[in-house]
């Protein structure tokens, strides 16, 4: 009996250990920081945190590395795949080159959200979308609940699922896309982001994430991607990837936090250009600021990295640095530096409980300071044209830098309903040619706006021939909003979301234009008050006049009482006379009367009446 029991126990233990080892194989986590110095004293820092959870465990509410708060929301809203972006600033592709992750981990300015939801009907999908946006708004402290019908679109060509959806059919999976271009991204969005990480920003590369530096960056993008991945012959896993990319200005980052305002240094500290002929002890021509590429990790991020997250996969080096091999880099003890085969990058293996610090001294060789950034497949720039408050135009300049490859892409705009576009004015032409070229636009998907119910959705599949620039233009009309529809800062203008460009060939690449600020005609908001005041005045005048006519008796001037200085004099005399009389009476009354106050009172009433009578006269 006892043996049997022990056998059962043993088998149970072995079974459970088997289970746990299986789950450990399915659930993994790794994090990596890639530092890439860019030209013009910029530094790109890409933080990537990725964890996998097997789909069966996820469905059994067995969360290990997957954040429970997010997991429950996804399950509740029937979300198959989710992409959430918080971005700020502009990626300067002219100097910084191609975007990190091929542009797949970035969003337009503000907040962007797209998700594949499982729902039988469109209405159900809308309802789930409402649930999802509201729940995420609570989780990420952002106004995602403002993604309503007017800001939601269902893109046809632009977005393709990144994950493997085995049992997905077109009928019951809905792609919804919402964007809030005006949403600010700040520390309150980073706080919940860090709480989703297994190490919560207490260890590993996440310790470098500081709101003060992140939101001082020239460009930054926080991304959350959740997608199922089904490797061949293995169980499907749900992957969550959290990514933060930021481009820091090294000069600005090195300023002390308490004193970030650049002030001119005192005269004796000024570096002078001694080659100038007028250089003298009292005259100084300041030298240009060198593009300084010497920095340390703690200068840039304001703190050193505190070890590594103990949960992370040790096979993945936590920090990598992309500088030419010829540059010398110093690092703290207990760190193993490994140069990669490509000769332009190196990675660092860090002990779990060692503070990590790297120092990049000023480069000796000026030619090999940074790795030359890759040229992007396409440059895009969008701006408003036209003038006035009534109508305008949008012009997008698309430049293909490649000398021999044609670029084909989908250009997507989701415009607010108050920008009514004239679709017939949409045309594309190649720079240098005046006539429009119909062969550039291959396909157009269009869904017109409905006032106050939905925005315009425009998807254009087009191509740009090699080494040429294409202008895509269209006109629009601005509608006039109702008085209550204006936001409190209406005069600032209304943000128009970034256009999403998805390159189909020669390679997958994404980019977004900047958002636009559309100024609508704003009314004078004090107008209703002016109207109220004016109407009240008019009514008061009319009513006052009428009332006077009704209750007053009008007499000729000579019939009325005298007016003028003489009349005033007479009046004063009368009053003085009355006062004197009253005083006399009072004296006699006080002297004679002992019986009580009653007659006294009566007397005063009398005098009051007599005064009144005198005044009336």
């Amino acid at each position: 009996m006892r043996q049997l029991f022990s056998f059962a126990l043993l088998s149970f233990v072995s079974f459970s250990s088997l289970l746990s080892s299986a789950s450990a194989a399915a659930a993994d986590y790794h994090e990596q920081l890639v530092l890439r110095p860019l030209p013009l004293s910029a530094l790109l820092a890409s933080f990537n945190f990725r964890s996998n959870t097997s789909l069966s465990e996820f469905e059994a509410h067995n969360f290990r590395f997957f954040p429970r708060s997010l997991g429950q929301i996804l399950q509740h809203a029937g979300t198959q795949e989710l992409h959430l972006r918080f971005s700020l600033g502009r990626w300067d592709s002219e100097s910084w080159g191609a975007r990190p992750w091929g542009g797949a981990r970035e969003g337009g300015t503000g907040v962007e959200l797209w998700a594949w939801l499982q729902a039988a009907t469109d209405e159900e999908a809308d309802h789930k979308w409402l649930t999802l946006t509201n729940a995420l708004s609570g989780l990420f402290c952002a106004s995602l609940n403002f993604i309503d019908g007017t800001r939601t679109t269902r893109p046809v060509m632009s977005f393709q699922p990144e994950g493997d959806h085995l049992n997905m059919t077109a009928a019951d999976t809905h792609l919804l896309y919402g964007v809030l271009p005006h949403e600010v991204v700040c520390t309150e969005n980073l706080t919940p982001f860090l709480k989703l990480l297994p190490c919560k920003g207490k260890a590993g590369i996440a310790t470098l994430l500081d709101g003060h530096k992140l939101f001082d960056a020239s460009w930054q993008s926080m991304a959350i991607d959740v997608k199922p991945i089904c490797p061949a012959g293995a169980e499907c896993v749900l992957q969550i990837e959290l990514t933060i990319d930021m481009v820091l200005d090294i000069d600005r980052s090195k300023r002390p936090r308490g004193n970030p305002i650049p002030r001119p240094p005192p005269g004796h500290e000024l570096p002078c250009n001694t080659s100038k002929p007028y250089h003298a002890p009292d005259t100084c021509f300041p030298t240009d600021h060198q593009a300084n590429q010497d920095w340390t990790l703690s200068q840039i991020f304001g703190r050193t990295m505190k070890g590594t997250c103990p949960l992370t996969d040790p096979a993945v080096p936590p920090v990598c640095l992309h500088v030419p091999d010829s540059r010398s880099v110093f690092h703290s003890d207990g760190v193993l530096e490994k140069k990669n085969l490509d000769r332009v990058s190196r990675c660092f293996e860090i002990q779990p409980d060692v503070d990590f610090e790297i120092v990049l001294p000023a480069p000796e060789d000026e030619s090999a300071v940074v790795v030359k950034p890759e040229t992007p497949l396409l440059y895009a720039e969008r701006s408003f044209t036209g003038h006035g408050q009534e109508r305008g135009g949008v012009q997008t300049i698309l430049h293909n830098p490649s000398p021999d490859t044609e670029v084909e892409f989908v250009y997507m705009e989701s415009l607010p309903w108050f920008m009514r576009i004239y679709l017939h004015t949409m045309s594309a032409r190649i720079q240098g040619q005046t006539a429009k070229d119909d062969s550039l636009i291959k396909e157009v998907y269009y869904r017109p706006a409905v006032d106050r119910a939905r925005g315009t959705q425009l998807e254009v599949r087009m191509r740009v021939p090699p080494a040429s620039t294409v202008f895509l233009i269209y006109d629009f009309e601005k509608s006039i909003l109702r008085y209550t529809e204006y936001p409190p800062d209406a005069n600032r203008g209304f943000d128009v979301a970034a256009a999403v460009i998805t390159i189909l060939s020669p390679a997958a690449y994404n980019l977004r234009t900047t958002s636009l600020l559309c100024s609508l005609p704003t009314p004078d908001f004090s107008m209703p008050y002016n109207v109220i005041i004016f109407t009240s005045t008019a009514i008061a005048l009319a009513f006052g006049g009428m009332f006077n006519i009704l209750v007053r008796r009008f007499v000729a001037a000579d019939e009325g009482p005298e007016v003028g200085l003489a009349a005033l004099k007479k009046r004063i005399q009368e009053r003085v006379g009355l006062l004197v009389e009253k005083l006399k009476k009072g004296k006699t009354g006080n002297a004679s009367d002992e019986s009580g106050t009653k007659p006294d009172k009566l007397e005063t009433v009398d005098t009051a009446q007599s005064i009144e009578g005198a005044l009336k006269e």
């Binding site: 700020l88 469109d122 409402l130 649930t131 509201n134 729940a135 708004s137 609570g138 989780l139 402290c141 952002a142 106004s143 609940n145 403002f146 679109t153 269902r154 893109p155 046809v156 005006h182 949403e183 600010v184 991204v185 700040c186 520390t187 309150e188 706080t191 919940p192 500081d210 709101g211 003060h212 530096k213 992140l214 939101f215 001082d216 936090r257 308490g258 970030p260 305002i261 679709l423 396909e443 157009v444 998907y445 269009y446 869904r447 959705q457 425009l458 998807e459 936001p487 409190p488 800062d489 908001f525």
Partner: protein, 392 residues
């Protein structure tokens, strides 16, 4: 045996503590937008830091910030908000949760929050999930006037609106005691209309008095805090070091002087049960701190019986509602069935296409022919008309 003897005094203590609160909540509202109102956000954030310092968790703080000062391009100190020119404490810090921000800060949302009349999709973090044992600190700041407070320079909340919201909260048993603080011009008029019990109210200035800012920071470029909030904070920082502090609300109110605040701060006790004396005896930490008084169920038969009775009654009501709903459903079904029988055409919900349509030239000729026919028809009509005119 020993355990029971230990528990006994605890039970005895639990008796008088029945009237105490078991949770603390804070509703901190800034109502001003735009950079030059930096000080109002700093006011609210300094109170936020104080209540957090005294132990109220983020989940029990509702923070409303209508504008973004920390990441504002005008801010020379990105990611920070300071309430003092010495810039010793960064109020924005590393860990902050803003529940309502930007355009979400409206009068409607504020009243919905207080009265909990929200949609089912509203996440828990944006709701005030209080009960009749919750003490609430309601702090408001912004620009106001006689019996109103402006929200984002676009709308106003009136003193009556606020009073009615509090009354609704009282009727719904959503609070135990409220400390209402307001820092705005003519602030005392805002609480003059309150009429619900157990509210202590205080404001920064009387009718026709302005509420002034304390000082400005030259690098930030604007005033950083208001006087009333500044001296409140001074008291809270220096006298209420932790939750064990025995300083009372009366001590806090006594620290207000005209010399410091430059306006007459007001206090209203008359709504409180027991009046001024009882109200002044409340601890500062009863509202600013998180003091969790655990209530032990007495476990007596009587209370259980009444509870069970209540449950039975409740379940009966639920059953009744169920049957009523079923009846309605059945009636509706009958109605639709009869409608179908009579052959009446059922109104189909109009199918709205959700997805963008491709622009194609498929039936280009058809479209042209339709257009041409219409034009020709018009021309024929006109010709016929002029011909007939000529005939007559």
């Amino acid at each position: 045996m020993k355990l029971s003897s230990l528990l006994l005094p605890a039970f005895l203590l639990a008796g008088p503590s029945l009237a105490e609160h078991t949770s603390n909540w804070a509703v901190l509202v800034c109502t001003s937008r735009f950079w030059f109102n930096y000080r109002h956000l700093a006011n609210v954030l300094s109170i936020y830091r104080t209540v957090k310092r005294l132990g109220i968790p983020d989940s029990q703080i509702i923070l409303m910030l209508p504008d973004d000062m920390a990441c504002n391009p005008r801010n020379a100190f990105p990611g920070t908000v300071y309430s003092n020119a010495d810039r010793a404490v960064d109020l924005y810090g590393d860990n902050i949760e803003v529940d309502y921000r930007g355009y979400e800060v409206t009068v409607e949302n504020f009243i919905r929050l207080l009265t909990d009349r929200v949609g089912e999709e509203m996440p828990r973090s944006k709701r005030l999930l209080t009960d009749d044992r919750s003490n609430i600190l309601v702090y408001m700041t912004g620009h106001g006037g006689n019996e109103f407070l402006k929200f984002q320079d676009a709308e106003e909340i009136g003193a009556w609106d606020l009073a009615d919201a509090f009354e609704q909260m009282w009727e719904k048993r959503r609070y135990h005691e409220i400390l209402f603080m307001i820092d705005t011009c003519q602030a005392n008029t805002m609480y003059s209309k309150l009429y619900s019990p157990n509210i202590i109210a205080t404001g920064s200035s009387e009718l026709d008095q302005s509420s002034y800012s304390h000082h400005a920071d030259n690098d930030i470029g604007v005033a950083v805090i208001d006087r009333y909030t500044y001296y409140n904070l001074e008291f809270l920082e220096s006298e209420v070091k932790d939750t064990s502090s025995k300083k009372t609300v009366g001590d806090l109110f006594d620290s207000y002087t005209y010399e410091k605040i430059h306006s007459h701060a007001g206090v209203r006790y008359d709504l409180f049960k027991g009046g001024a004396e009882e109200a002044r005896r409340r601890l500062v930490t009863d509202f600013f701190g998180n003091v969790q008084n655990v209530e032990v169920d007495s476990g007596k038969g009587e209370t259980n019986a009444s509870f069970e009775e209540e449950m039975v009654r409740l379940s009966r009501t639920i059953a009744e509602l169920h049957t009523r709903a079923e009846e309605q459903e059945a009636a509706k079904r009958n109605a639709t069935a009869s409608a179908a029988k009579t052959g009446k055409k059922q109104q189909q919900p109009r199918k709205i296409p959700r997805v963008a349509k491709p622009l194609t030239d498929d039936n280009w000729w058809t479209k042209k022919i339709v257009g041409a026919t219409a034009l020709a028809g018009c021309a024929a009509l006109w010709g016929l008309g002029s011909y007939l005119e000529g005939v007559v």
